[in-house]
């Protein structure tokens, strides 16, 4: 049983605390509605930010749903399979940053690579994987429905401009890392009776490869041929994204090209 004295102390402490919390409450309301404006955040000078290169082999993946791995039941996508392969060869010392966003088009990616933090992550990369353009060209299938060469030409021109900026920005952040730019396949090759989509996709790939070749250390990885003969075997049920098998074949193209001095012999 506590004595009278300690009860009294507890009461006094409790009373003091009550006053403290009441004051805090008043402060919270005052600050919320009439907060001092002198602490307003100013744009920071980010130029001094130093990049500390980690010792792990770093893969940064950028782009759309293909980078994300949409359609793969295991959720890995080609990035995941490339990472699996590298993990085996490099004794597990790799880091993967998958920055792919479903439905991303080249204009959005252009903004994404300008973000300071993305630039920092790119600077740390040893290789960069990139898929972009499928959503620009196909627009969720709308391009095929109203097929018009003039529209495609305008889309193509905008894409070339965007991708040029993207490559320039990536190279600014990281002049050394090899970029693997994955080309488009034609998911509509079986359903397209008029046969207009295949030349369009081929043409698109040719232009994309040409732009890539004007920058150092960009490898254009074709995927058109993988899906050319038996497209339905390698497509997910949405008939647009690759399935697990399709992603595996894509990864098999890229993974052997990646070399690192830390590789175990």
């Amino acid at each position: 049983m506590l004595g009278k004295k300690s009860v009294r102390y507890i009461t006094i402490i409790a009373a003091t605390l009550s006053v403290l919390w009441l004051l805090s409450l008043g402060w919270a309301i005052q600050d919320y509605y009439a907060g001092a404006t002198d602490h307003v955040v100013k744009k920071q000078d980010r130029s001094q930010k130093t990049v500390i290169k980690n010792h792990m082999f770093t893969v940064v993946a950028l782009g759309d749903s293909l980078t994300r791995g949409t359609g793969d039941d295991s959720g890995k996508g080609y990035v995941g399979y490339v990472a699996d392969d590298l993990n085996e060869r490099f004794n597990g010392s790799i880091v993967v940053q998958n920055l792919g966003i479903n439905g991303q088009v080249s204009s959005q990616l252009k903004k994404q690579v300008k973000q300071p933090n993305i630039q920092r992550q790119l600077a740390e990369a040893d290789i960069i994987l990139l898929t972009i353009g499928a959503n620009d060209l196909f627009q969720q299938g709308r391009t095929l429905e109203n097929f018009d060469l003039a529209t495609i030409k305008t889309i193509e021109d905008a894409f070339v401009k965007n991708i040029t900026t993207i490559f320039t920005d990536i190279r600014k952040a990281n002049p050394d890392a090899t970029i693997f730019f994955v080309g488009l396949y034609n998911p509509f090759i079986d359903v397209d009776e008029t046969g207009v989509t295949s030349p369009t996709v081929r043409d698109w790939n040719r232009i994309a490869e040409e732009v890539s070749s004007t920058y150092p250390r960009i490898v254009f990885v074709p995927t058109y041929d993988i899906f050319q003969l038996s497209v339905n075997d390698y497509l997910f049920t949405d008939k647009f994204h690759p399935n697990q098998e399709g992603y595996r074949l894509m990864a098999d193209r890229i993974a052997p090209l990646i070399k690192w001095e830390g590789e175990s012999k």
Partner: protein, 326 residues
């Protein structure tokens, strides 16, 4: 009056309720500390880096991918959009929104316990302040004294306020001391961004300010204390109206839990904002989290709570002074 309060405090301390509450808080904090620690570890393993910027970036990308899905509801989409913009702002400013340390843990813990956990703790004390006197039969002894009835009730209410302050403080202290063992006792001066104005799915960052975490924590505690007082007063009223402790606890518990459920589904039922239970998450306003019903503000929520508080208080005194006791 002082003697009455001292008497009530004596009863409170003697019943060891506060110790029980302390034990509950202690156990929960240990659980959450462990959970948090595990989460940090798995995150580290998954991403392969220690850099908080990488994990924050990944969090943003994951949310953006969820936005791309067509199967999510509009409300949920707006919430995610708001979070993405806020996190992106933290990232652009190079500020870690959850700087590791005991202080951040306390902040997270106290913010997440405003609407259910802390009210429950207060309820343990408040629900039987009056009704237990009925159950024990000691109310007759109390009322036969030459003291006005309202003074007796007032002394009980003052005790409740004191107990509320003690419980809120105890929760803060215990979570600081226990989580600090794992996360370290730092983070008082970590910068926190406040002043996000949420409007639909958009975040207005024009009135954004940076404040130290200890200031933010104090404000959080002020709001949490206010909520605790209001909920405590309501439980106190029930304890006067319903003479059975179990029944008054049950009613209070039901309304608190219903509030937690309602919060997720009331967005299209506008008049629900007059319920006290959907207004309990006051700390969300400081964090810039969108309120459950559009149009709710800190002031409107506090006014609703104040009205409930005043009504409960008036009703308690009115009933207690007129009640027949047998």
């Amino acid at each position: 009056m002082n003697k009455l309060i001292a008497n009530e405090m004596m009863k409170l301390v003697a019943r060891k309720r506060l110790l029980v509450i302390g034990a509950i808080v202690g156990i929960l904090v240990i659980l959450f500390t462990f959970a948090q620690y595990k989460e940090v570890q798995t995150q580290r393993e998954k991403l392969g880096t220690d850099d908080w910027r990488d994990s924050l970036q990944q969090q943003i990308i994951d949310m953006q991918n969820r936005l791309g899905s067509s199967r999510i509801s509009d409300d949920w989409r707006e919430q995610i959009q708001v979070s993405v913009q806020q996190l992106q702002f933290y990232l652009d400013q190079d500020i870690n929104p959850s700087e590791p340390g005991a202080v951040t843990f306390v902040r997270m813990f106290i913010e997440n316990s405003t609407d259910l956990f802390i009210p429950l703790l207060i309820m343990i004390v408040a629900s039987d302040l009056v009704s237990s006197e009925h159950t024990l039969g000691s109310v007759k002894l109390l009322l036969t004294r030459p003291v006005k009835r309202w003074r007796i009730l007032l002394s009980k209410y003052m005790t409740l306020l004191l107990a509320t302050s003690l419980i809120v403080t105890m929760t803060g202290l215990l979570s600081y001391v226990i989580s600090g063992i794992v996360f370290g006792y730092h983070g008082w001066n970590a910068p926190i961004i406040t002043g996000f104005v949420v409007d639909g799915g958009n975040v207005d960052t024009s009135s954004i300010r940076l404040i130290s975490q200890w200031k933010f924590l104090l404000m959080d505690f002020g709001l949490v204390w206010f909520v605790a007082v209001v909920v405590g007063t309501l439980a106190f009223m029930l304890s006067v109206l319903i003479r059975s402790t179990a029944a008054s606890m049950g009613v209070m518990l039901a309304s608190l839990v219903s509030g937690a459920i309602l919060n997720n589904m009331v967005s299209s039922w506008e008049s629900a904002k007059y319920f006290f239970m959907v207004n309990l998450k006051l700390t969300n306003y400081l964090n810039g989290v969108a309120p459950p019903i559009t149009g709710m503000t800190l002031l409107s929520s506090m006014s609703v709570l104040l009205i409930w508080w005043a009504a409960a208080l008036v009703l308690s005194f009115f009933v207690f002074t007129r009640q027949d006791v047998y």
